[in-house]
Symmetry: C2
Subunit: 348 residues, 2 copies
């Protein structure tokens, strides 16, 4: 992929800022009745009568959060929206609107920025979210994406991180560690490519974990599922920094301890196998890898029967009194203190 | 100013992301009753029962929107908030909450980022705005600031750009062109300094226009004033890109023409004098300079008596039928077509 292959392409500075904004926003359709006015004035106007409004924001910077060597711009746009939607889901709420600010150097062509927006639009369309504003600016170098998402919920549905109670079951959606092992694969193939550009990337059969890294999905379906099951989580957070970090956030904010069982942590066979290929412990990938954007939540024991048979939810432990500590019980039965090491865990 | 003077200073990577966020947000006080939950969960929770919600966002990038050679970080933080508040004021609404996302390279010290936040806090405190969330990340290089602001208004108060009617008076608050001439001064002194670091900047007696550039104020006072006068503007926009561009936005969105009178455009004597020093036409500075963050608005002729004596509001022309064109009447009585040239106007 060559972003700077400019033959027959349009430089964004030919359009000017207003031209670029018009071009990128002219096809926006508003679907939420709470969106009274979107792009085109000094501010958007929303109406959430009777509902609480939720707001979250995330900034993605080139070279820090993504590497354009192996991240197609369309995927990047898609992911930038998903990581924001995930934060609203993690409050047990429904995302409804986003603002999208982009800083791009003048080397980017219109076609490149269109590709980025295609991914943004795709994510918004799929999750029925309105784009209501933003800012488009040139940058000295590097691509900057800053997205703010707004959502809504009934007050009684909103789930904070601090509501976990002793005895609550700790649950997680989907499976973990895939995004991190996918990243390892992409990084390896990038190195191979840099050494010999003739060699094509060898990612065959690895679609699932590559997609976990490049095209994550916010688990809005889990929010709907829990509503349909009539389960209100007592605490919830999304898994962006790794399972360990998120469990500890819930324990700290709820002032509780936990028992987590290694054998219960859901890991896809492809994640497991790839971690082994890279000489990594699959459990560490799940605990510290991050970027899975699954939902971690606690439920009352009374809700056990409602969730026990759902294939998309794993019960991985339970909440304890704070004095019991925050523990991970290994497959061999050993008790380890749970630590949020993030990517430090992988440093040799 | 040396941002990278690191003796006895704390590197932000020593704190880690969560440590830095805690450090920067621990003193946040929430004052709006619409702010139910601020920083500390996946999303903030707001309650605007009965009011419409307004949202706007702006991104500022080092080297594009600001030059740290002459912009103190505290001023930068202050300005970054003001340019956002200004967008909510331009809807005839009241700003209430902001999210603040910052990307900073690891070269910045904790003291530097604290200085930036000091300006952000100062602006929020002065304008009674709650900081409800954000994102703090490292950048490869350069400082990135992305702010989203939320505000509220009664539906009948909200003023769009498209409501101007034939015969309406075109009004502007404060004075124009100061921010641009202030920038010229700062750029000149930077060049002098780069050529000879022994020479101290010569900005004496230029406080007003330097402040117009470095420390603009959103005109929330004008919103209050208009309410107290019982004047509802028919259209409104803030002057961020220069008077010409903003008048044309109102004309285009309202599908109207205009007559604008050069002699009526409010220009401070210091702006006038400094423009002349730089061999610039003061009117061009007002029309195309931008960054004044004054409010441009139209009112019904029936409201003339209410506003005519206010020293902070100038009536600079009136709205016409679209066929009459968009005209600027020069001091000598000549009719020119109004064009939005932005900074192109200054190219020789």
């Amino acid at each position: 992929m060559d972003l700077f292959d400019n033959v027959d392409k349009t430089h964004i500075n030919e359009l000017g800022e207003f031209g670029l904004i018009d071009h990128l926003t002219k096809n926006i359709k508003l679907t939420h009745k709470s969106t009274l006015k979107g792009v085109g004035d000094d501010a958007a106007v929303l109406d959430y009568a009777g509902k609480k409004v939720l707001v979250s924001t995330d900034m993605l910077l080139e070279g820090i959060h993504f590497d354009l060597a192996y991240t197609p711009l369309k995927h990047l746009g898609y992911k930038a929206v998903q990581v924001n939607l995930s934060d609203i889901c993690a409050m047990n709420a429904t995302p409804a609107q986003v603002t999208v600010s982009i800083g791009m150097s003048s080397k980017y062509t219109l076609e490149a920025i269109e590709e980025l927006y295609e991914g943004i639009y795709l994510a918004c369309e799929k999750y029925r979210v309105d784009i209501i504003g933003g800012d488009t600016t040139s940058s000295k170098q590097g691509l900057v994406i800053s997205i703010t998402v707004l959502g809504y919920a009934d007050e009684e549905s909103i789930t904070y991180r601090n509501g976990a109670q002793e005895g609550d079951l700790i649950c997680v959606s989907g499976d973990l560690g895939g995004a991190y092992t996918g990243l390892q694969l992409l990084e390896r193939e990038k190195l191979v490519y840099l050494e010999n550009p003739q060699i094509q990337p060898d990612l065959e059969g690895k679609d699932y974990i590559i997609e976990r890294q490049l095209k994550p999905e916010a688990r809005l379906d889990i929010i709907d599922l829990l509503k349909n099951m009539n389960v209100k989580p007592t605490a919830m957070i999304d898994v962006s920094d790794g399972l360990a970090s998120e469990v500890l956030h819930i324990c700290t904010q709820s002032n509780k301890g936990c028992q987590l069982y290694e054998e219960k942590i859901p890991i896809d066979p492809m994640t497991y196998e790839t971690a082994r290929e890279f000489n990594l412990d699959p459990t560490i990938c799940a605990l510290s890898g991050g970027e899975d954007y699954e939902l971690l939540f606690t439920v009352k024991q009374a809700d056990y029967d409602k969730i026990k048979n759902d294939v998309d939810i794993s019960i991985i432990g339970y909440i304890t009194e704070p004095a019991a500590g925050r523990n991970l019980i290994s497959k061999s039965g050993q008790v380890h203190e749970l630590k949020a090491q993030g990517w430090n865990a992988f440093k040799k």
